[in-house]
């Protein structure tokens, strides 16, 4: 049986157990294969990521970016802590997108945490606005929006956060103007061929997923939190690799991450447009063929309301005009711990997300699977007991608080939301029931989904249930067989070693630098800078200098009066006959006849008198 399990096949002996679990044989088979696929995939990020492991986080966090950890698996709290915590606009829903895995749902229970794998992208959804009931991420230019957000409609420069998967070997999170957030323009920006648009898929997260959870991204208007999946076989990303925002290196998985630099802002900042002009640090320009090459004005508040990367700290002044939430967000940009001072979200090191246990629902979604329509958050969702928008106050809420200020609305909305928070004995099904009672059509549709299994109501995936039952039965049967056939004691299970230190080998830098320096030296790539010699001043040498006949020095010991130097200049003579003879004979030295002699030229009398004369001066007569 064990061999069959390793191969993903089931033994007929387990048929009764499968029936007892209330599942079909086909479902059990899929469950086993899913578990095996997940166990197999866990080693892949280590191979793909190289020296670091990348985790992306975007949405309602202080510093959305891609973070590089030293370990292949990190906790969600570590990632959120590295990202500076969540903002007060976060709903509490975190969606985890994992490459190659089917979507699963989990729930953070008190004392538990979610383990992320390398390459995961976590999206923290944005809470709906209390005063309008309109999802900000649904807003896009050209689409009629409620009157309460006219300022966003006027500001065409609102930017959204988008994650790229499959573009390079790690996820990429960028910030871009929403009016340009279409796949064709994105491909033009990334200097890709337009015909690869059919192979680009867009996973729109958040409440927008109810409209188009995942589809081909040819004509889709991207919204904030969208994940764009590229086909690595069709993308040539080497030309833009250097321009993409770098990952933020997090030294210790449990420590506080270092502040991101300007280059890690997640903003497409250095990509050249087709006209060859560089793009400024906060603006994304597109090819002039689309007539959208004009710079985009700064806006401190995005259309989605999502928090912006850290480079927006310069917009703190403008953000002060947008209300307390934006000020809190911007202060979080400047200092990740600034979020802790906000009255809404209390930062706690043990709970960096600022969300109470049991409040966060985690949805792990496959970016490459095409089953999001089935398992999405839209209508007809059969496996969504915990909707992604727990605080859906509706339009009636907004009408009641229409005359209130934005801060008051937020506080009141928060208070209402807190009143809906589950207590410690909160049961997920109770929460789902409460939320399903809301008036939105999507929630009403979910209200019809009570025909779920007991495991699903608990939030435990059916697949895991089947695997757990099968594993337990297999262990019991195996132990029973072993106990009857052999009397040997059952060996105690060996506790696997706990990973304590990162397994990334530390590169030896010094020899590499030495070899690099030698290579540059050989290739003559190092500039030479002259510096003055440093002599010791006022040195006294012993002994008397001998001039060796070159000149004669008259010093104090020989200061006898000398006749003055002759003031005349000797007449210039013509070239002597001796030199003329030497010149006349010299060209013969380069002739072929001359080359036939193997003896040195100085040995030839009458032809090398110049050299002979000098060499005899140096070495004495007949030296050579």
């Amino acid at each position: 049986m064990g061999r069959n399990m390793r191969h993903g096949r089931l033994s007929i002996l387990l048929y009764l157990a499968i029936l007892a679990a209330g599942a079909s044989l086909h479902g059990a088979h899929e469950g086993v294969q899913l578990a095996l696929a997940e166990a197999t995939r866990q080693v892949e990020p280590r191979q793909m990521a190289g020296p670091g492991f990348y985790f992306g986080i975007l949405g309602q966090v202080a510093k959305p970016a891609v973070y590089q950890f030293r370990t292949a698996t990190v906790r969600l709290t570590d990632l959120v802590s590295a990202a500076g915590g969540v903002t007060d606009r976060a709903t509490g829903n975190a969606r985890v997108f994992r490459r190659g895995l089917n979507r699963q749902q989990a729930l953070i229970m008190p004392g538990a945490d979610v383990r992320l794998m390398a390459g995961d992208i976590v999206v923290f959804d944005e809470r709906q606005a209390a005063n309008t009931g309109v999802v900000l991420s649904d807003y896009s230019p050209g689409v009629s929006s409620p009157a309460g957000f006219e300022q966003n409609q006027n500001a065409q420069s609102s930017r959204i956060q988008v994650a790229f998967v499959g573009l390079i070997e790690r996820p990429v999170i960028v910030k871009m103007p929403s009016e340009h957030a279409t796949v064709p323009k994105l491909l033009a920006l990334l200097q890709q061929k337009p015909d690869v648009a059919h192979a680009v898929r867009v996973i729109q997260t958040g409440p927008a997923a109810a409209v188009s959870p995942e589809t081909s991204g040819d004509k889709i208007q991207l919204t904030s939190g969208s994940i764009v999946v590229f086909d690595r076989d069709l993308i040539v990303a080497d030309c833009v690799r250097e321009s993409l925002p770098a990952a933020i290196d997090v030294a210790a998985p449990s420590g506080v991450a270092s502040a991101p630099s300007a280059d890690t802002s997640g903003t497409i900042s250095a990509l050249p447009n087709h006209a060859g002009a560089a793009v400024d640090a906060t603006t994304v320009s597109f090819p002039s063929t689309n007539a959208v090459n004009e710079p985009v004005a700064e806006s401190s508040q995005s259309s989605t309301g999502l928090s912006e990367p850290a480079t927006w700290s310069a917009d703190a002044l403008s953000s002060q005009t947008t209300g307390g939430n934006e000020a809190a967000t911007d202060s979080a940009h400047r200092n990740p711990l600034a979020v802790t001072n906000q009255p809404i979200t209390n930062f706690d090191e043990r709970n960096p997300t600022g969300i109470s246990p049991g409040e966060v629902s985690i949805e792990i979604q496959a970016d490459g699977a095409n089953n999001a329509a089935t398992y999405g958050h839209g209508a007809g969702n059969e496996f969504d007991p915990f909707p992604p928008i727990p605080y859906d106050f509706g339009n009636d809420q907004s009408s009641e608080s229409a005359g209130q200020s934005s801060a008051e609305q937020q506080s009141e909305a928060r208070a209402d939301a807190m009143s809906m928070l589950p207590s410690r004995d909160f049961h997920p099904s109770q929460r789902a029931t409460d939320l399903d009672a809301q008036s939105t059509p999507a929630k009403k549709a979910r209200g019809k989904q009570d025909k779920r299994s007991w495991f699903e109501r608990l939030g435990i995936p059916m697949d895991l249930t089947i695997v757990g039952i099968l594993g337990t039965l297999a262990a019991v049967v195996a132990l029973g067989i072993l106990g009857h056939t052999t009397h040997q004691p059952v060996p105690k299970p060996v506790k696997p070693p706990t990973p304590t230190e990162p397994e990334v080998p530390v590169p030896v830098q010094q020899p590499k630098n030495e070899f690099r320096a030698l290579e540059c030296l050989i290739k003559n790539q190092l500039p030479i800078v002259e510096e003055p010699c440093q002599y010791k001043p006022n040195v006294t040498f012993f002994g008397r200098a001998a001039v060796a006949g070159q000149t004669r020095r008259v010093d104090s010991a020989h200061n006898a009066p000398k006749p003055p130097a002759p003031a005349r200049v000797e007449p210039k003579r013509e070239i002597s006959a001796h030199d003329r003879a030497a010149i006349a004979k010299a060209p013969a030295r380069g002739s072929r006849a001359r080359a036939s002699h193997s003896s040195p030229p100085v040995a030839e009398a009458g032809r090398s008198d110049l050299l002979e004369r000098v060499l005899s001066n140096i070495h004495g007569p007949g030296a050579l």
């Binding site: 290739k523 510096e531 008397r544």
Partner: protein, 347 residues
């Protein structure tokens, strides 16, 4: 950190790496003796000329001596007269030690390698046990470096023939000597040196034109500096001289080149009997004499007129006229340093 010391007859240079650049120091290998009298002492103290003293004279060293020699009307004296370190001139030997100390910075580690070239590039026993070899290596050792002697022409090959796998011939025509090295994959398999070069040309030019200078005491001497300045400023090329003096210069150079090539041919012919080299070997030319206009073409003519034992390829000049030999020596020093470090780590 490794360092290179190119001790030439006319100039001495050092080169070492600091970060992403190379730092070079250069000074003339000359000195100037001034009368140690009260007015002279007051003068050089008042205008703050760096100087030293010996028993009976004030000493100006290096570039200071060369710059101020016309001012004081006193000719500079070479630290390597006839390419040799003077044995009977104690102040000159101390001046040489002071200049080398100024060229070589303090070593940062023990046993740092200093690859140096010796004036005249002596070969054989003179290259290993000669007076210049012992004196200069001793000075480098006193400075705290581990000396490693290389020839100028081999350093030229290391600096310029990396693209040819360090296989080729280097001709270095300096001020005091000409030398040539045949290298095969970085190993010097033959070397030849002749003790005539640029200084000989300058002397002959000055003697032919009877260019003399008189010092302030009335002594006459050949003004080789003037001849050298004229030689470096000719407008034409040595292939097409425009007057008698340039014709004379061209013949001197042709004579010198033919002599060096024939000496190299004889030595290389013996060397390739034991280690045949069948490929075409490139030739790189270095040294101050090779910077004369038209020198490479003249060299090619002289080479084609000689039964050279090797099939030669491209003939090219070195890139940097000043620090090429020093850079090749630095490459040699770095290789030696890494080799020694690997040996220490293996032990």
């Amino acid at each position: 950190m490794s360092i290179a010391l190119d001790a030439g007859v006319r100039r001495m240079r050092s080169l070492y790496q600091s970060g992403d650049r190379l730092l070079g120091r250069c000074c003339r290998a000359e000195y100037l003796l001034l009368d140690d009298v009260e007015p002279m002492r007051k003068l050089i103290d008042r205008i703050e000329i760096p100087h030293a003293r010996c028993e009976d004279a004030l000493v100006l060293m290096g570039d200071t001596a060369a710059d101020l020699a016309p001012v004081f009307g006193t000719p500079c004296l070479s630290l390597f007269p006839n390419g040799k370190i003077p044995r009977d001139n104690p102040p000159a030997r101390q001046i040489l030690a002071a200049l080398i100390e100024g060229l070589l910075p303090e070593p940062s580690d023990r046993d740092e390698v200093c690859c140096l070239t010796i004036p005249g590039n002596p070969t054989g026993d003179q290259g290993t046990f000669g007076h210049e070899y012992k004196f200069l290596t001793h000075l480098v050792s006193l400075r705290g470096y581990a000396p490693l002697v290389a020839t100028s022409s081999m350093s030229l090959v290391l600096a310029e023939l990396a693209a040819d796998s360090f296989t080729g011939i280097g001709f270095e025509l300096g001020a005091g000597s000409c030398c040539a090295s045949l290298s095969h994959r970085g190993i010097e398999i033959a070397h030849v040196s002749v003790p005539v070069s640029g200084d000989w040309i300058d002397t002959e030019l000055a003697r032919r034109e009877e260019e003399y200078a008189w010092d302030r005491h009335g002594k006459r001497h050949l003004d080789t500096h003037s001849a050298a300045r004229w030689k470096e400023s000719i407008a034409g090329t040595v292939l097409q001289p425009s007057n008698d003096r340039e014709q004379f210069l061209a013949e001197l150079i042709r004579e010198l080149v033919a002599y060096v090539i024939e000496a190299a041919a004889a030595e290389f012919a013996r060397a390739i009997k034991t280690k045949p080299i069948r490929d075409r070997v490139p030739i790189v030319l270095g040294g101050g004499t090779s910077r004369l206009p038209g020198f490479a073409a003249l060299f090619e003519q002289a080479l084609s007129a000689t039964s050279f034992p090797l099939s030669t390829g491209e003939i090219r000049l070195s890139g940097d006229p000043k620090y090429t030999v020093a850079r090749g020596s630095l490459i040699r020093a770095e290789l030696e340093s890494q080799s020694r470090a690997a040996s220490r780590s293996a032990a």
